[in-house]
């Protein structure tokens, strides 16, 4: 049997860590309904908090495809939860690129892992896609859906085609910072316990 082929164990690992990541995303997402600026700050919160499980996940990745499958799963779940299909290509693209970067470091190089996680974090921006691409109709939808005009104005002041570049860069940067912190946490707790 080919050793680079994914096995059931790998699929289960992917499933577990995806579930954890979705929970993190969801908890942070709840806060966003308080004020639209918090929606914009997902790019800081989610990479930092999500880094801990993801770094543990990266220590378990040894074959190509695991990170890609994870991004596909996230895209499916985001769709089911009503975030739309517009972001799905971006999520999967981020996953594949992150996977390729990590592969170039043979899944061992720490530097490559940091960059890979930074790229992977770009999936968070996919959630903003409906806001930007369909700005006008989305705004109308929100107003019809019962959001206040104030919330909409703030939301579109925080997220538009000008700020998306900044948000993407922030996402990447905080992904990298998160990766360093996450790695430290993993070292502190998991390597000592012999779980990695």
């Amino acid at each position: 049997m080919n050793s680079s082929k994914l096995k059931a164990k790998d699929f289960i690992t992917v499933g577990i860590f995806t579930a954890i990541l979705i929970v993190v995303e969801f908890l942070c997402g709840m806060l966003g309904y308080i004020h639209p600026y918090i929606v914009a700050s997902y790019v800081v919160m989610i990479p930092l908090v999500g880094a801990i499980p993801m770094m543990l996940f990266y220590t378990k990745v040894e074959k190509f495809g695991m990170i890609t499958i994870m991004s596909v799963l996230i895209a499916i779940i985001m769709f089911v939860l009503g975030m739309g299909y517009l972001g799905a290509p971006l999520i999967v693209a981020a996953g594949v690129i992150a996977d390729l970067i990590a592969k170039s470091g043979k899944y061992k190089s720490f530097k490559k892992t940091i960059i890979s996680y930074g790229v992977f974090c770009l999936w968070i921006c996919a959630n903003y896609f409906p806001v930007i691409v369909t700005a006008d109709s989305y705004r109308k939808d929100l107003l019809d859906g019962g959001y206040s005009a104030e919330y909409c104005d703030d939301l579109f002041r925080a997220i538009n085609e000008k700020t998306i570049a900044v948000l993407l860069i922030l996402c990447f940067v905080f992904g990298c910072i998160g990766a360093v912190i996450g790695k430290k946490v993993v070292k502190k707790h998991f390597e000592k316990a012999g779980i990695v």
Binding site: I16, L73, S148
Partner: protein, 233 residues
Amino acid sequence: MHIALDPRTKLYMILVVSMVVLMTATTPFLWGVRIFMTMVPITLLFIEKKYASAIRFLIFYGVALVLTFFFLSEDSSGILTAILIGYCGIVVQFMPAMITAWYCVRTTKIDEFMSAMQKLHVPDGIAISLAVVMRFFPTIKEEYGSIRDAMKMRGISFGGGNALKMVEYRMIPLLFSCVNIGDELSAAAITRGLDGNVKRTSIVELKLRTADILLMLVFTTVLGIFIYCKYFR
């Protein structure tokens, strides 16, 4: 009365509901369609004798609907109303998708799900991972509950007000137990021959019954009506 729906019907339901959730209802008629669509999974929950959760969903959804329609409008302001609007917004907007997903996860057995996935020719990797994700949310909730209990017992409540500590105290034990559960799960999966090279057979025979076809028709009609009324009128 007992209706055993085919997992494929449930998947189709999820797909339709997610698509409708994306489109905001603008006229009273469309709201009616949406509410009707939400009532289907709730009714199904009643039929499956999951009364507690069905009633909980019903009350949640009802309260949010009433609040959105009668008390809130575009020009309401103030921090409390803003939060209220936010939560009502999320409930009214996304609750249908959440109820449907919850219904499907709770009433589908994992072997049924895998067999349906096989019939739909979904790659094994995605099917297995998705099955694990589906089963894992309740586990995370359970584990988190025990972690909170353990913390309470030792008198640690907020990690001393330090945000980083707060995250760390909860996340690390959770990860520990999740990794261990994952190992056990893999062992169980391997004994069941999930790694084999031959095509797996399944003990459950999936068949589309009258109820399945009826539901699929209903949901297709709902989707059709929704799209027609929203974009072509």
